[in-house]
Structures are given as structure tokens and as C-alpha cells.
């Protein structure tokens, strides 16, 4: 026991001496949350638009004015020919160009048939579709004011319930994601690098030749990262609860249990990687390419896994982060009972046991 304590102390000293790394690890979750919370957004705002108004009548000017006033658009360019439109798109000056024909309002008022062309820069198809929708809605609204829109008599009024997140805050989605990601980063990646460093420098041999049991070495290696990840989780909860207003609807006890199990899985993954890799570079590359990237992309933090093709959904199933994020999301935000996350818990425990068994086997082989 005394041995374990002094070894653990040595590891803690190693890590805390490295101020740069410590600072980054402690600040990283906060920066990530601020970025996702306040900087990066999939919403479409302040798009620059251009207008090619060949009619220049009262109605077209009214519509343009209305579009310019909306929060989504700001009028940037007035063109006089199609040629200018083309080149303007290629310089990415505008996202949408609205074209009014000659005699636009005359056609509308007298011939009852007019046309507005909405040209969107569809290199980003999602934004383009949304923008076209916004423009169409604004135009339709302007026409309604002119009492020109047809009215239907029969109606179905849908009542829309946005369950668990009526205000549509994106933080409800990314907070669990950031947690899942940071723990993999700290526990799996850092642990594996720190164990492999001993191997690379040859000090691992010394440790193994000493009377210290291998289990003591491993536990003392892992302990500081366990500690750091718990601090990270507390920071994330603190920022999300007090600054971003994300509720904690579930039972704190179960949430803590889930986090501990996930930390256990990530640590055993880190140990597993360290038994496979012989150099720090390889440990790093393995954990970055096989763990970090998939954990970021396939865990549902940015993109929804259900919308992906089968192969990627399959890969997502073997990512511990995916199971953790799904469970923690249910517990924190949906506030469901433990019975609804039993499957996720089971999978995580199973993964942890498998990783640990393989690494113990590998470790023993090396000793012989």
C-alpha cells in the first residue's frame, strides 16, 4: 500500500510539473463548450444577398426592402446584368441572388402570372435549401399583404411539442458530447502515451524488474488521469449548469455511476493501447485516428448517427463514447429512470472488461 502511494505520488508530480499540458487539459473542456455554445452554429444568419432587379417597380422594391430588413439577410449587391451575378458568386460575395423580370408587377397584377427567380449558391446544399425557404416565405408574406395569396378553407392545426428541449438549445446536445470526448482524450490518449513513454525510454523494464507488482505500476499510472477526468467532469457540469442553463434532471447518483464506469472503460482502453504500441508516436496515432476522430464524428455530437449509412452506424456501435453519450443524455436531459439506460451501462461494462482482459493477457506475455 505504501508502495502504491509513493508511486502514485511520483506520477502526480510528473504530470503537474508539466504546467502547459495541465493548463490545456483543464481549460480544454471549457473552451470546447464555449465554442459550441457561443461561436459555432448550424443556424443560418446574416447571409449576404444580391438583387438583379430588371423591373424596378414599387412592388419589387418593397419585397427587396422586406428581405433586407429580416434578420437572416443583408443586401450587399445590386446587379444590372446576369454576367455580374455569375462572377459575384465565384468570389463568394453573396449567398443568394433574387432576380425580378422586367414588368414584374405588371405581370403579377394584370396577367396574374409572374415569376421571381431565386438563385442560391448551392455549394452548401443545406444552407441553400434553407435560404430559398426563407426567401420564399418572405415573398409570400409580402404578397399576402397585397391580398394576393389564395386562401384555403379546410385546415389541420398541428400542435408541435419539442420534448425535453422546448427552447431548442443546442447546448442540450453538445454538453454530453463534450463530456464523452474529453474523457476519451484524457483517459485513453494521455494514459497510453504516458505508459508508452516509460517503455520508449526503457524505464518500464526497470520498473518491471523491481519488486513492485505490475498491478501497482499500472494503478499508479492511471490514478492521476482518473483524478483529472473527474475534475473535468465537474467543470463541465459546472459550466453547463450555471452558465449555459442546461438542467440536470436525473438522479445525481446514477449520473456519477455512469461517469465512473465510462472513465473505467476509457482507462482500460488506454492501457490496452499502451500494451500494443511501442513508441509514443504510434500510441498517439492509434488513439487519435481510431478513437478521437470517430468519437468526435460518430458520437452524435455534431452529426446525428441515425442519419448515417449502415457501415458508419456499425462503427459507431463499437465506440464507447457513443454509448456513454446516449446514456448521459437520457439521464441528464430527459431525466429518465435507470432502467432506460441499463443497456448502455451493460455494454460499457462489457467493453471495459474485454479491454482489461486483453491487456492483462498481452502484458503477461511480455513478461515471459
Amino acid at each position: 500500500m505504501k508502495q502504491l502511494l509513493s508511486f502514485t505520488k511520483k506520477e502526480f508530480l510528473h504530470i503537474f510539473r508539466d504546467t502547459w499540458t495541465m493548463m490545456i487539459i483543464l481549460v480544454l473542456p471549457v473552451v470546447m463548450m464555449l465554442l459550441f455554445g457561443y461561436a459555432v452554429t448550424t443556424e443560418i444568419k446574416n447571409t449576404n444577398i444580391g438583387v438583379l432587379d430588371l423591373s424596378k417597380d414599387e412592388l419589387s422594391i418593397k419585397i427587396i426592402d422586406r428581405i433586407d430588413k429580416s434578420e437572416y439577410f443583408s443586401l450587399k449587391k445590386n446587379y444590372s446584368s446576369f454576367k455580374e451575378v455569375e462572377s459575384s458568386f465565384r468570389r463568394s460575395e453573396v449567398g443568394v441572388v433574387i432576380v425580378f423580370d422586367e414588368n414584374f408587377s405588371e405581370n403579377l397584377l394584370h396577367l396574374n402570372n409572374a415569376e421571381i427567380q431565386v438563385i442560391a449558391d448551392a455549394s452548401d446544399p443545406n444552407s441553400a435549401k434553407t435560404l430559398v425557404n426563407y426567401v420564399s416565405n418572405i415573398i409570400a408574406q409580402s404578397l399576402k399583404d397585397l391580398n394576393k395569396a389564395p386562401q384555403s378553407n379546410y385546415q389541420i392545426t398541428p400542435e408541435l411539442k419539442l420534448l425535453y428541449n422546448p427552447l431548442m438549445k443546442s447546448s442540450y446536445n453538445f454538453v454530453p458530447g463534450v463530456m464523452g470526448f474529453i474523457i476519451i482524450l484524457v483517459c485513453a490518449m494521455m494514459t497510453s502515451i504516458s505508459i508508452v513513454r516509460e517503455k520508449e525510454r526503457g524505464t518500464m523494464e526497470l520498473l518491471l524488474a523491481s519488486p513492485t507488482k505490475p498491478i501497482v505500476i499500472i494503478i499508479s499510472k492511471v490514478a492521476p488521469y482518473f483524478f483529472i477526468s473527474i475534475i473535468n467532469i465537474i467543470t463541465i457540469f459546472f459550466v453547463s449548469y450555471f452558465i449555459m442553463g442546461v438542467p440536470i434532471n436525473g438522479n445525481i447518483l446514477w449520473i456519477s455511476l455512469l461517469c465512473l464506469i465510462y472513465i473505467f472503460v476509457s482507462l482500460s482502453l488506454g492501457i490496452l493501447i499502451s500494451t500494443i504500441a511501442n513508441t509514443q508516436l504510434i500510441a498517439l496515432v492509434v488513439s487519435a485516428i481510431l478513437l478521437l476522430m470517430p468519437s468526435m464524428l460518430l458520437s452524435g455530437m455534431l452529426f446525428s448517427v441515425e442519419s448515417m449509412p449502415v457501415v458508419l452506424r456499425g462503427i459507431a456501435q463499437i465506440m464507447p463514447a457513443k454509448w456513454f453519450i446516449s446514456a448521459i443524455r437520457k439521464l441528464i436531459i430527459m431525466g429518465v429512470d435507470l432502467k432506460y439506460v441499463l443497456k448502455e451501462l451493460g455494454v460499457l461494462v462489457f467493453m471495459g472488461v474485454v479491454f482489461l482482459t486483453i491487456s492483462i493477457k498481452k502484458f503477461k506475455k511480455r513478461l515471459e
Binding site: F89, N126, V132, M308
Partner: protein, 367 residues
Amino acid sequence: MLGYLIEKEFKQIFRDKILTKIILVFPFIALILLPYAANFEVKNVRLVVVDNDKTSYSSELIHKLLANKSIVFTAIKPTYNSALDLIESDKADMIINIPKDFEKDFLKQKKSDILVATNSVNGTKGSMGAMYALNIISDFADQKTSKLVSINKKGTLEIKPLYQFNRTLDYKFFMVPALMVMILTIICGFLPAFNIVGEKEKGNMEQINVSPITKPVFILSKLIPYWVIGTIVISIGFLVARFFYGIIPMGSIFTIYLFSFVFILSVSGLGLILSNYASSYQQAVFMMFFFIMILILMSGLYTPFNSMPPWAQVIGSFSPLKYFIEVMRNIYLKGSTLMELLPQLLIMIGFVFLINTWAILSYRKKS
């Protein structure tokens, strides 16, 4: 002198089997998998239906909903609460609750209600799913209306959308050129950083420091190999884009090469700066990871740049990635010419000088 140093770098890189594999295989696999993952489209919305009406209208509406290819049918449940149970256990994403007398109200009072509830923990997914359902419901109402009364349409205004540069609205066409930039950043930013830190950890650095090699020569000997590697990586990107996705650049391929030469110098320089400050792998990894993550997230790769708040746009405009991603998308999809992209080129060249001067200055022979 420079020649020998570069020869040494190449030998070291290609001797390392794993490193060689990363350079050749990683771009290939990443470009084939990532565009399928990085997609904001919402598909496979799992629907559970509660039909309290059980009339021809309600079943017709249900059929219409299920005919949508973004909606997947999960179950029919007798009550709203039992449907909610499916949402809580994550077996469904959306509930449509058709009230009793749905058909009767519609025909008699010309008005009926319906409840659409979506799991909105993921806001985008929840609202998109709801949008699909609401559109179908309003179509359904229109269809029924036009059967019941004949409206005579007057004064129609046709809004003709024209989706320029990507007529098929394929999101992959948007992502593939930009993901090439991300892969280039990862390979040409991380590897030089590790390279120098590796020399430090092994103690080689001491020997180089006492040799007559000057700072700029040393930095150049580290930059040039990654220049070559970056060119290989971007060429692999071209091939995957061409033969796997069928994406051909509308603009000139030489313009892309020109920009990527400039870009690689700036990210490799960034890696070198960090490696000058870091003393161990762990440090280098975390610093690099920290900055590259911020650069990538704020570059407009996944989310629109213009939608970010002004302060974030200011930070983002200090990222070389932002400009190169814009350039790649413009050349690939819109066929922009070098003249049209001149502002971006000048800014990127500015970055190269700034970053590499910093790299040379921060490399100290004495610690």
C-alpha cells in the same frame, strides 16, 4: 548542407512503416468515410403513431407519412404515454398523435388538430423531423381541401429556385474539397511537430545545436519534406474525389496546387512553432490538438462561417484553414479563377511569412 538534411528526413520518414502508412492510407480512408459522417441531413426519423381516430382519413395520413423516405415506421401504440415510453428508451424519435374525431372535425368544422411531438435533445434533429411531418400534414390538408371545394386560383406568383453550382444538392460535393484541407492540416501540422519533439526526446537536438547548421536551414530541412508529403496527400485527395465521388474541379487544378503549396507551408510552420515550445510528446500533442481543434471548428468547415457572432468571425479570420477551405470549395464547385481568389492568396502568403518567421525566431539553439 540542406540537401543532406532533407535526405536524412526522407529516409527517417519512409523507414518508419507506420508513418508511411499514415501518409498514404489515412487520407484515402478518411476521405471515403468522413463525407458520409459529416452530414447535417436528417434521415431515418423513427416514428411512432397513436391513432385514436381509426378512420379512413387517419390511416390515409399515416400512409402518407410513412411514404416519406426520411421517416421510418417504428410502431403503432394505443396511448400517448406508451408511445412516450418508446422515446424514453430511445426506440423512437417522433410521436404523431391523431385525436379522436379527427376526420369528423375536419369535415364538419373544417378544422381539426393533431399532435406532433419530437425528441428535441438534439435541436436540429427534432425540428427537422417535425418539419417533415408538418409539411406532409399540410399537404394532406391541401389535398383534401382541393377535393372538397374547387378553389379558383388567381394571381399566382411562381418562385423559381435555381440551385447554382450543385444542382443535385449533394452535401458530399460540399464536404469533400473541404475535408481534404482538414486532412492536409492534420498530416502537415501534427507530423512536423512530433518530428522535432521526437528529436528533442531522443537527444538528437543537442547534437544539431552544436553543429554549424543555421536556424533557417534547420527549419527549411523540416519544412520541405512536409511540402512534398502534403503534395502527395492532396494528390491522393484529387484521385479519391475524382474516382470515388466523381467530383471534378470546375476550376484549374494548378490553382489548387498553388494554393496548397502556400497552405502547407503555413500549417507546417504552425507545427514547428509549437514544437519549439514543447519539450515532450504529450505537450506537443495537446498544444497542437488544442489549436487545430479551434482552427477547424471556427473555419467554416462544418458550420457556416457567416453565422458565427462577430467576435468569433474575427478569431476565425486568423486561421489559414478558413481561406483555404473557401478557396477549395470555390475552385471545385464554382470554378473560380486565380484572379477572383487573389485576396485569399495574398492573405495566405502573409500567414506563411508571419508563421515561419516566428518559427525561426522561436527556435533557440540554447535552452
